[in-house]
């Protein structure tokens, strides 16, 4: 265990000494390694250990938290004291009885990456980078990285919970630059999973490299899209970033509980087109955004957020749950002990619908087919979102035509959800890092191909 049970007991006792009605210790020991490659040569390696403790106490809906970069008894107790000192009451809790709970691991790891020497990872990365480089003579540069994380956490609370989890993740990212006539365009591919090195039995490094190069080549030969409002077909996989940004963030209790979301008070109401069913599911075996337990120790769940357009639930953590009078949905997450945890997404996606992909394209007289999406962002208060199209094509008379660059889609979350009027059948998930107040965490986005009847497309 990361901390001895005696130390945990003593720290919880100290943290709750000034009237807290809940105290929680989160201890972490994480090993991470990033190997970067430039021009098929290993350029840099970052190799780190992150370790420390984060302590929180609640009094009603008030939260006091602290963190320290050490797992020593002295540091943990001093952090507990510091947190307690910020609350000026007297002890309310009489006893604390911890019961260890083992939730099991639904994400088997065959080859633990932190136990594998660099050379094995370098060979895999080189294969990907070289296949990108050899894809076409216009590919002028390729950069790649191999990332693996071995994240060990312990959570103990005055509710009596004592639980641990080990979260192992592996990811490869390749970015290719195509150059022609003094212009550059980029393409990238960066799959990952809550898996060990066996991930590359499912994802061939050569194909990862080729996909990055293919995208860069399509874009270097593309023209710019004319700006305007039009219907858009959004491809599967990373296309799901539209739901993540346009809706997901605004369904997180951190903004809903404070009335900072457009979806506050909308449970049971229609917020999306009836074609839309969307889920957040942290229990997908070996999924990039999957967890056994969240960072408050609540087991992860499969949460149906929207069913046939009706809002069913939010993504909730314990603290915001108190304000909302609702139970945690197992969505409390933090990047590390340094960050205060809050409600976040895991694997969030739009479920398969009944439309055929070819019918979606055929339905568009003039519009955009956004085959591959980049990242985006949202203002949860106003619902204004934006995201970038990495690979797009003009659709004319129901046919996919020439490739176009520079497209950005913008709109309002509440409006776009109503405008998703066709949902296809090729659900796929893709990996991303989601940044918010509790840090950068791995999340999956996903969807089958969908059609948005009208959206503003930025271009030139």
């Amino acid at each position: 265990m990361l901390l001895s049970q005696n130390l945990i007991n003593e720290a919880l006792w100290k943290a709750s000494s000034t009237g807290a009605d809940y105290a929680e210790i989160y201890a972490e020991y994480t090993k991470s390694k990033t190997i970067s490659m430039v021009s098929s040569k290993v350029d840099k390696i970052a190799d780190g250990v992150i370790s420390g403790v984060g302590i929180r106490i609640f009094k009603g809906t008030r939260c006091i938290s602290g963190s320290a970069s050490s797992l020593s008894g002295e540091a943990v107790l001093s952090c507990a004291q510091k947190v307690a000192d910020a609350l000026l009451g007297t002890r309310e809790m009489e006893t604390i009885v911890l019961r260890e709970r083992r939730f099991g691991d639904i994400h088997p790891i065959h080859i633990v990456p932190s136990s594998v020497e660099n050379t094995v990872k370098i060979d895999l990365l080189r294969e990907a980078c070289e296949s990108a480089r050899n894809y076409h003579s216009d590919i002028s540069q390729v950069t790649g990285s191999f990332l693996d994380v071995d994240h060990n956490i312990l959570i103990a609370t005055t509710e009596g919970l004592l639980a641990e989890d080990r979260q192992i993740r592996t990811r490869m990212a390749v970015s290719a630059v195509a150059s022609k006539n003094g212009e550059n365009q980029t393409g990238s591919c960066s799959p990952g999973g809550r898996m060990g090195l066996e991930f590359f039995e499912l994802h061939n490094p050569k194909e990862i490299g080729e996909e990055a190069a293919r995208q860069a080549m399509v874009m270097i030969n593309a023209g710019y899209i004319p700006a305007g409002k039009m219907p858009v077909a959004i491809g599967n996989g990373f296309g799901g970033v539209i739901f993540h940004e346009a809706c997901g963030h605004a369904l997180e209790a951190s903004s809903v509980a404070l009335g900072q979301s457009v979806f506050t008070g909308k449970l049971g109401k229609q917020i999306a087109n009836e074609k839309v069913t969307a889920l957040d599911d942290g229990t997908i075996p070996n999924g990039w955004g999957s967890i056994n337990i969240d960072d408050e120790g609540t087991p992860s769940q499969r949460n149906v957020l929207i069913e046939n357009g009706i809002l069913k639930t939010y993504m909730i953590d314990k603290l915001n749950g108190r304000r909302m009078g609702m139970a945690s949905t197992g969505n409390c997450r933090r990047q590390s002990y340094m960050f205060e945890p809050t409600s976040r997404m895991t694997n969030t996606f739009i479920a398969e619908g009944t439309d055929k992909n070819e019918d979606i394209i055929a339905s568009i007289e003039y519009g955009l087919y956004a085959k591959s999406m980049g990242g985006g962002s949202v203002n949860p208060v106003t619902g204004d979102f934006n995201f970038a199209v990495n690979e797009g094509y003009i659709v004319r008379n129901g046919k996919v035509c020439e490739a176009v660059r520079g497209a950005t889609l913008i709109g309002k979350g509440a409006e776009i959800l109503m405008d998703i009027d066709m949902v296809g059948q090729n659900l796929e998930r893709a990996q991303g890092m989601c940044g918010a107040s509790s840090g950068s965490i791995p999340t999956d986005v996903g969807q089958p191909m969908i059609r948005v009847s009208s959206i503003t497309v930025g271009g030139r």
Binding site: D43, G48, S67, N118, T186, G374, V381, T382, R460
Partner: protein, 449 residues
């Protein structure tokens, strides 16, 4: 184990492993912050964090390993891991552990006053009530924050270099949410520096104004427009594209400015300066993240690209002297390159003068999604934006739901006027930030309705 004890152990293990060239980098940060919701303290956080990175040269390659766990075992482990990593590297860049002998700039440092927790709570509560006082449309969800942050970094190496620097500052901000009965709007205003200089009423007023100004917004027709970029927006564009000025990006074929030193890359009116000791910067840097002395310099002078930003490795490769821009994104990161206070020099004229000159066009005051819609390698941007119309030389009604697009290098060439209102984007405790005055650019493509 404290840092001095840990350092001793690391030196012992380095010598046991016959290392001649190595460095220990230490960084520490302490932060206390308070968050108000409605009329109460919602959150109080106190964080004490540190990290240590060891790097060493083996066979001409620099291996790195880092930890946050100061134990005897880890002291040994970071030395061994760094050696292991060095052995698998294939970088063509030369490796350096910096030598003594630089002349470091100096500046006068003010003593930091640490606010008590109770003071922070009082300030934030006062700010919160100021926010509600500003306008009857201010609703719950509005929040205020106050915090104190301090940091320290130290570099020690096998050449006897032993440098320490620290910084501290206070910050307050108000996040206002207003409702016109149909929609919600939010605004924010941040103030950082010395608490004694903060004006609660001003922060509250600006945050609420930021939210209210956008009520009643409309979109515009798609087309080409004359645009005034606010100082804040131009500074954040500069920040997004600052990597094009990195020698490392250029040497790796990832910068559009590769081989363009000495060429005109911007309008003649543009001079771009990198100043590690900019007088109003909250955090200044006299040495960079590999211990080399820093210095102010112009990167663009009257439109001409004069120099890339260098660290020791890129400078050696280019056959020049380092510009003192060696940078670690976090203590655990390998050394790369970054700017300090990096800004477009102010010229003349107020914002109103720029509106006058624009005649009719759009004043852009916000851009979103920089990490997605702006690509530093291609220079292209297509960004969700908001702002105001400019009609007959005057600021008019609010605009939202539009995108602006173009190419950053093309934009630098197309700037026809630069104002005098230089402003830096407030970034957390960091010596690395960008600034710009408002600028006037013709022929920007805007997508609207």
């Amino acid at each position: 184990m404290n840092y001095q004890e840990f350092k001793k152990s690391v030196i012992k293990y380095a010598s046991e492993n016959n290392l001649n060239d190595y460095e220990l980098y230490y960084s520490k940060s302490d932060e206390t912050s308070v968050e108000i919701f409605q009329k109460e303290v919602k959150g109080f956080n106190s964080a004490n964090n540190l990290g240590i990175c060891f790097r060493c040269i083996v066979n001409g390659q620099t291996g790195y390993a880092s930890t946050e766990n100061m134990t005897e075992e880890e002291a040994n482990s970071i030395v061994l891991r760094a050696i292991q990593n060095a052995k698998t590297l294939e970088s063509e860049a030369p490796s350096f552990i910096h030598k003594q002998g630089d002349t470091y700039l100096t500046y006068e440092k003010e003593e930091a006053k640490i606010p008590s927790a109770a003071q922070l709570v009082d300030f934030a509560l006062d700010l919160q009530s100021e926010l509600y006082k500003q306008d009857e449309r201010v609703i719950d969800g509005t929040q205020s924050y106050a915090g104190y942050s301090s940091s320290e970094k130290a570099i020690f190496n096998s050449n006897g270099l032993d440098l320490v620097d620290n910084a501290a500052f206070d910050y307050w901000y108000g996040m206002a949410i207003v409702s016109d009965g149909k929609e919600m709007y939010n605004g924010i205003h941040i103030k950082s520096g010395k608490m004694d200089n903060f004006d609660k009423a001003e922060i509250a007023k600006e945050a609420v104004k930021d939210a209210i100004e956008t009520i009643g917004y409309t979109s515009v027709d798609s087309g080409e427009y004359t645009v005034v970029f606010s100082n804040k927006v131009m500074a954040s564009l500069l920040s997004t594209y600052s990597s094009v000025f990195s020698a490392e990006a250029a040497q790796k074929g990832l910068s559009l400015l590769k081989d363009k030193e000495g060429e005109m890359i911007a309008a003649e009116i543009i001079t771009l300066t990198d100043d590690p000791l900019y007088k109003e910067a909250l955090v200044k840097a006299t040495f960079d993240d590999e211990g080399a002395a820093t210095a102010p310099k112009n990167v663009i002078e009257n439109g001409k690209f004069t120099t890339f930003l260098h660290n020791l490795a890129t400078a050696a490769k280019a056959g020049v002297k380092t510009t003192g821009n060696g940078f670690k994104a976090s203590y655990s990161s390998p050394v790369g390159i970054n700017h300090y206070s990096f800004y477009i020099n102010p010229v003349k004229g107020s914002l109103d003068d720029l509106f006058e000159e624009a005649g009719n066009g759009i004043y852009i005051t916000s851009v979103e999604g920089m990490h997605a819609g702006a690509n530093p390698i291609t220079g292209d941007f297509s960004l969700s934006s908001g702002g105001f119309r400019i009609e007959n030389g005057k600021k008019a009604g609010p605009v939202k739901g539009i995108t602006i697009s173009g190419n950053f290098l093309q934009l630098l060439k197309n700037i026809s006027s630069v104002g005098e209102d230089l402003k830096f984007n407030p970034v957390a405790l960091s010596a690395h930030r960008c600034g710009s005055p408002s600028v006037l650019v013709k022929g920007i493509t805007i997508a609207g309705q």
